[in-house]
Amino acid sequence: MWCIAVIACNTFRETLRDKILYNLLFFALLLIGGSVVLGDLTIAEQEKIVTDMGLAAINLVGVIIAIFVGIGLVSKEIERRTVYTIVARPISRWQFILGKYAGLVLTLGVNLLIMGAVFLGTLWMDQVPIHGALFQAVALIFIELLLVTALALFFSTFSSATLSAIMTLAFYVIGHLTADLKGLAAKSQSESLKAVLNALYYVCPNLEVLNIKGQAAMGVAIAWTYQGLASLYGLLYAALLLVAACMVFERRDF
């Protein structure tokens, strides 16, 4: 556990000293603040616009950080050969992977807290009612970020940063379209296309399960059973990806 914590703290420090993170955070805060202006310009549903845009900004910036920092977590260590001195220490490779993951999750958590606080502050200042559903939506956004980070980390254990970015983005996009994949497969005449679409449906994570931003913006709370099951689904998927990442990394030559 100690080694995982040491690697995690170092990863957290690395992201904190990266200027890109601050730019992204600034961008998110700008979007959240900008939602008030946009809300003022609309005639109706002003509250919905403000909450919708705020949640979308939190989600978007979180996913950008998860993907673009996540893909470099391991591949950058290998490319820069910093991994040599780490693997040569008395730590297991899986501890290294989990430490890197925990470090980025910590960064994402802190970012989410900052963005969430600014979001709530914006709502309060704009006199938009703050529902429990908003907290539920942010919690599921965090679960989605955990999953996307695990996806990026998994790809970065065996491919370059660029390739990892492409694959993670592809999985992210497909992950939000899995219901359509199932529908397309049912309508398709070609058996091979049907098989491919069905395979994609079962392999890709269904990220729409974790997307309740629409309901939250309307102030509609979701059932806690759904919240729990959706969270469990996301966490299990992330855990499976982490196990796979550890297995791939264990067998790698540097």
Partner: protein, 312 residues
């Protein structure tokens, strides 16, 4: 017990592309490093030096043979507590300061805060970076990076230190500092195993050396043994006050003669000719200045062993 024992070590890298032949980096390498000695691991580029060190540190796995460090199989995680490693041309976390960097590696080795504070201070002083302790590594020169790399290899006070090209990129002063550091490690009873291209450094500080070519150990032993083994040493004799007209008569056994006024230098093909020449010099009333056995240099041996034409 040997600090390092390698027997018939093999490593073949698959190309990853169909049709391309695999590359055999190690072809049955065997060597041993005794505890408390400095062992220089020499070889041309691509000979398999770094591959050997990587296998020892568990960075890659061997495809055949056996390697162990401090009595445990290579790659054993617990053994790494007792081993320090500096990779070739190291890149480090450049966002860390020198002090944070050493603390990070010390924490990974499980050191306590108190021990770490003392050790960091000591090592920064040892490698001459006390002034730069709060500077980020991205602002370090190559020589400074090499020195902080050495410090991270030593942070947990290891018994065995493995260094891959520790002198590369250093200026003469930096090289001397590293040489002195390696010698001081031996004085503390530690074992040092390092690869290098810089032959004079090996000649100066190593107890034993090994020469690896195409993944095999071609020569290994004490530096003086290797330099004299199997080859006749020449001897240079210098005398003064010899009549120039008589020099030719004495030079029959010499392979080379250099004459400057009444001072002569005779190069004899072997030590067996020395007594005759000295007797002749005395008989001619000249005075002896020096008798110097000429050793074959390690560089000559290295070039012989690595000569692809096999002339060595």
């Amino acid at each position: 017990m040997d600090a390092i024992l390698i027997e018939n070590l093999e490593k073949t890298f698959l190309s990853g592309w169909p049709g391309r032949p695999p590359v055999k980096a190690l072809a049955g390498l065997s060597l041993s490093v005794r505890k408390g000695e400095i062992y220089g691991f020499m070889g041309p580029n691509g000979a398999g030096k770094t591959t050997t060190l990587k296998i020892l540190m568990g960075l890659i796995t061997a495809t055949g043979g056996h390697a162990e460090m401090l009595g445990k199989p290579a790659g054993d995680i617990q053994t790494r507590r007792r081993v320090g490693f500096l990779p070739e041309s190291p890149y480090f976390y450049d966002y860390l300061t020198a002090e944070e960097f050493l603390r990070f590696y010390g924490h990974l080795a499980g050191m306590s805060r108190g021990d770490l504070r003392r050790r960091v201070d000591h090592l920064l002083e040892l490698v001459g970076l006390t002034e730069a302790r709060t500077r980020q590594l991205r602002k370090f020169s190559k020589g400074m990076l090499q020195r902080i790399g050495l410090a991270q290899a030593l942070i947990h006070d290891p018994e065995l230190v493995i260094l891959d090209e520790p002198m590369s990129g250093l200026d003469p002063i930096g090289r001397k500092q590293v040489r002195d550091l390696i010698l001081s490690l031996r004085d503390q009873g530690k074992t040092v195993f390092f690869s290098t291209h810089i032959i004079p450094d090996v000649e100066m500080i190593c107890d034993r050396v090994g020469i690896v070519v195409k993944g095999k150990l071609l020569a290994s032993g004490r530096v003086d043994e290797l330099m004299s083994h199997g080859h006749t040493q020449s001897v240079e004799v210098v005398c003064d006050g010899l009549d120039p007209a008589r020099v030719e008569a004495l030079a029959s056994s010499a392979t080379r003669l250099i004459q400057q006024g009444r001072r002569c230098l005779f190069v004899l093909p072997g030590p067996e000719h020395v007594d005759d020449l000295l007797a002749a010099i005395r008989a001619h009333g000249a005075s002896l200045v020096s008798v110097t056995p000429q050793k074959r240099s390690l560089e000559e041996l290295f070039l012989e062993q690595t000569d692809p034409s096999g002339r060595g």
